[in-house]
């Protein structure tokens, strides 16, 4: 069975077996009990040659309504932001792409340096002291934050604002199952945290209060007020934040956050039907020894030259095992590299511009769309690049209709909250053009007419 991915030829196999002193490869498999052996070939589709594979997979890909062929107004935690062209070229360099966790730092300075840069940039954006090398995605980052708050405070409840992405909340629930942490939800009748309700729920058992801003509905939350509330109860404040917005929006660290998490997908990571994304995790320095995930630190080599290593590893599973701060091992280093290259490329000025363009276009879109008869903003709150519309017809039907005009108008909220069954969540990034927004508004008007 010759395939281009296997090196040994029959002749080489023979020579190797001779060296080993075995008659056949079968002889090497003697430890596997006969009754446990698979007695037939695997029933898989036949092998495809490269050209056939391309044809087959291109046909599959063509059955998806992607953001290249469609004008994408979908958000809810994943956004069609601009991806500068160098990113893909640079991450594909084999020395980055095909290396693993930098266990041998002397032969991994490329990876280690990019992670150190990444940690620096994330700390700067979030306004926190330290950031780790990444968690899987925003949701699992939030789950890790909940576990960490539990570990740090010894308390057993996590209070979540209703504005936290409900998909994230589900992941938190999964992770909190084992430790028996209880989740409590603060309603958001006006689209933002209800402070009265929050005050009732946050108390001596509260390990952390979690808010997201802009929240799932697009509304900006009063993070400083939430911080005060949490801290008054001796709880930590965990803020979920989309780092791509932080060129313009205030750093959560400046507003009192103890832990900031979020998804860095907007920082140059492709939409890719939901993953891999980039779990951002940053905290105050006093919490560093309870942080999950890898950390890279600067040090010096034997000759005094600057060098970088994985550090504070005694937090991690490969050393602390059952007592580790987290079970994470493989993370999303390559996505962190994308974000690092992204942030280097857009730079100080570019990230501000991304935010400025997004918010300006989002406000224009909100105005245009709410001019369509029957369409209104669901919440009277300030927003940034995303907002919730109330529609006079079922949103999922609107979505299906607009798809025919190559418009992906947003995310219907019904699956997330029955009370918002008539709502559509609309995201507008800097990539959307006036022409696309106008076409959307016109198409919506037609569909609703």
């Amino acid at each position: 069975m010759a395939t281009r991915y296997i090196a040994n030829t029959p002749a080489e196999q023979k020579r190797m077996l001779e060296t080993i002193g075995a008659g056949s490869i079968e002889d090497l498999l003697v430890a596997i009990p006969a009754k446990a052996r698979l007695s037939r070939p695997l029933a898989l589709p036949p092998a495809l040659a490269e050209t056939d594979l391309i044809r087959h997979m291109s046909a599959m890909a063509a059955r998806n309504a992607d953001a290249e062929s469609f004008a994408c107004f979908q958000g809810a935690g994943a956004y069609d932001h601009y991806v500068p062209s160098p990113i893909n070229h640079l991450i594909l360099r084999g020395e980055f792409f095909t290396a693993y966790t930098p266990y041998q730092p002397e032969a991994s300075q490329g990876t280690l340096r990019t992670i150190y840069e990444y940690q620096t940039m994330i700390a700067e954006l979030t306004g926190m002291d330290v950031a780790n090398a990444s968690i899987y995605d925003g949701a699992s980052s939030l789950a890790e934050a909940a576990l960490m708050a539990h570990a740090v405070t010894g308390r057993t409840e996590i209070v979540l604002a209703r504005g936290v992405n409900p998909l994230y909340r589900r992941v938190v629930a999964t992770y909190c199952e084992g430790p028996g942490i209880r989740l409590r939800d603060v309603p958001a009748p006006e689209g933002v945290l209800d402070p009265e309700a929050a005050r009732k729920l946050v108390g001596g058992k509260t390990a952390a209060l979690v808010v997201q801003s802009p929240n799932f509905y697009g509304c900006l939350e009063d993070v400083a007020a939430a911080a005060e509330l949490a801290h008054a109860a001796g709880a930590l404040l965990v803020v979920v934040s989309d780092p791509v917005n932080l060129g313009v929006l205030q750093a959560p660290g400046r507003l009192g956050a103890d832990i900031v998490v979020g998804d860095g997908q907007g920082l140059g990571v492709p939409l890719s039907y939901g993953g891999p994304y980039l779990g951002v995790f940053a905290a105050k320095s006093e919490l560093v020894r309870r942080m999950p995930g890898r950390l890279v630190g600067a040090t010096v080599d034997r000759d005094g030259a600057r060098g970088f290593v994985l550090t504070l590893q005694t937090r991690e599973q490969h050393i602390r095992r059952a007592k580790a701060t987290s079970n994470i091992c493989t993370n999303v280093a390559l996505c962190a590299l994308m974000a690092t290259i992204y942030l280097s490329t857009v730079g100080r000025e570019g990230l501000v511009k991304v935010g400025e363009l997004s918010t300006r276009k989002a406000h224009y879109a909100a105005e245009r769309l709410t001019q369509v008869p029957g369409v209104s903003l669901r919440f009277a709150q300030p927003f940034f690049k995303e907002f919730t519309l109330r529609l006079p017809k079922p949103p999922d039907r609107v979505v299906a209709r607009l798809a025919k005009q190559r418009i992906l108008p947003g995310v219907p909220l019904k699956p997330f909250d029955r009370a918002l069954g008539d709502c559509l969540l609309v995201a507008v990034t800097e990539k959307r053009t006036k022409a696309e927004i106008d076409a959307y508004a016109d198409a919506l008007a037609t569909v609703l007419a």
């Binding site: 196999q13 898989l44 997979m57 980055f96 966790t101 840069e117 940690q119 084992g178 929006l249 079970n327």
Partner: protein, 489 residues
């Protein structure tokens, strides 16, 4: 020429730009200050680097050159299956229909993506002999968490309050960590000197409080547990579930299947067995497969097929819940799908045959010069012990560093913990005999040097961009981000 030693911040020049963004094309000239109340806004722009696009390209190209990767170096890191990552997989993952598809696309607008996931799950079920597979876990460790939580939910659903999970002392660190996270007490089971599970010790611990036994097959010494079927039967007899850590699946494709061995749950590491790239530490993907009795507990949603149409099934009342915001590391799933479709059943079998052959060849060639942790034949990897070299003052670390100088990445060291001065070597099937011979020659040279000139080992590495690094200083005075005031070195 000395190695490149810049951080991107050190290239920054105020006002230099690397981005390209259009001017606003919507009417008006309102800025964020006009649209958003001030209290939500940042006062100053963040201190990101200010560099040109070319600065970015050259900087990261240069940084990459400080790394060893599989594309450039033999990378025998045991337990990690550092095989060749086919380039066609990258091309497929970049098709716009995959790479630019939003996760909340209506299922009708994502039929291709859902079909791919459904078919991949089916193929993994066939490969593992499991009844159902969830693609959601982001990596092996998350697969473990999902698996153990399903076991927990299963017991609870049956009204059983089991509190312990048994794990061999040879296990990977994520096994106890994930298990503890799932709320269990972890109990270590001893291994016999030959690395096999001490069945007597296992039996001793197997009480009615035991929810599961979790074991890696082949084990972390690269050996197939010959009594594995006995073990799974024993566990089942005590009402415990059995979990297989599938990190070492590269050894057994088409040869044996966890489902047939009696396992209830197993996870895959697509970034190991199924050629998705390691990316400097991730992302990976850690699908988890289960037997039918655990199927109701799978993470939600589940990809289902109704007639010719694919859908996401959210109505999973017994589900353990979600692990990621969306459906899994889809980009990695595309790559793994491309790989399995390229290999077919025979091809996958051939993968394991050759992975095993290569590991045994290395083991044989090195058995004179190093102690072998367990006598062979091994499976896809072999574990050596440098205990002999240790007596000469040369540790596994020293050997690893010297290998770097000789042009190879290092094996895994000090894992499994039960082997003194462990060197865990996994060559994979994609490496050629020529490469293995060069590596073995280097290892033999090192063994000789350890006897004759141990100082060469202690000095190593000398050809890498930096020499041995001060780990203690890094941990004592953590310097975890760059500041303009205090550049190091």
């Amino acid at each position: 020429m000395s190695a490149y030693d810049k951080l991107v911040f050190e290239l920054s020049s105020p006002g230099r730009i690397g981005y390209s963004l259009p001017e606003s094309d919507v009417p008006g000239d309102r800025t964020a200050r006009d649209l958003v109340p001030a209290k939500y806004l940042r006062a100053e722009s963040p201190a990101l680097p200010e560099v040109s696009e070319f600065d970015v390209v050259r900087h990261y190209s240069r940084l990459s050159r400080l790394n060893y990767g599989v594309d450039t170096h033999f990378y025998p890191l045991g337990s990690c299956t550092m095989k060749y990552n086919p380039k066609i997989n990258e091309d497929m993952a970049r098709l716009a229909g995959f790479a630019r598809l939003h996760p909340l696309a209506a299922p009708a607008a994502a039929q291709g993506a859902l079909a791919l996931m459904h078919e991949l799950a089916g193929m993994l079920a066939e490969i593992s002999g499991m009844d159902a597979v969830s693609l959601q876990p982001a990596a092996g460790a998350q697969g473990e968490l999902a698996g153990v939580l399903m076991i927990r939910a299963y017991h609870l659903a049956r009204g059983e309050q089991r509190t312990k999970v048994l794990i061999p002392d040879s296990a990977h660190g994520t096994n106890p960590a994930s298990t503890a996270l799932a709320g269990y007490d972890v109990v270590e089971v001893k291994s016999l000197p030959n690395g096999e599970v001490d069945i007597a010790d296992l039996d001793k611990h197997l009480g009615t409080d035991v929810a599961a036994f979790m074991i890696t097959v082949p084990n972390t010494l690269g050996m197939f547990e010959p009594r594995i079927v006995e073990i799974t039967e024993l566990c089942h007899a005590k009402g415990a579930q059995v979990y297989m850590d599938g990190a070492n699946f590269n050894a057994i494709l088409g040869i044996t299947r966890p489902g047939d061995l009696g396992f209830d749950v197993c996870h895959f590491n697509l970034h190991k067995t199924f050629t998705t790239p390691h990316g400097g530490g991730g992302p990976g993907a850690g699908p988890v497969g289960v037997k039918a009795h655990l199927e109701p507990f799978l993470p939600a949603p589940v990809v289902v097929k109704h007639g010719e149409a694919y859908d996401l099934d959210w109505k999973r009342p017994k589900s353990i819940g979600k692990l990621q915001a969306f459906w899994g590391n889809f980009g990695m799933l595309v790559r793994a799908y491309a790989y399995i479709r390229t290999m077919g059943g025979d091809g996958l079998r051939s993968v394991s045959d050759n992975a095993v052959l290569n590991a045994n060849y290395v083991m044989k060639r090195l058995e004179q010069d190093y102690d072998v942790a367990v006598p062979g034949p091994c499976m896809h990897e072999c574990v050596l012990s440098a205990r002999r070299q240790k007596k000469q003052g040369v540790t596994a670390t020293d050997i690893a560093k010297r290998l770097l100088d000789l042009g190879f990445y290092a094996p895994s060291t000090y894992f499994p913990l039960i082997v003194e001065e462990a060197l865990m070597i996994e060559p994979t099937e994609t490496e050629s005999k020529d490469t293995l011979d060069l590596f073995c020659d280097a290892m033999i040279q090192i063994a000789r040097e350890s006897a004759s000139s141990p100082d060469v080992m202690h000095e190593a590495p000398v050809t890498t961009p930096v020499r041995r690094l001060d780990q203690t200083r890094a941990a004592r005075e953590p310097d975890l981000k760059w500041t303009s005031r205090a550049p190091r070195g």
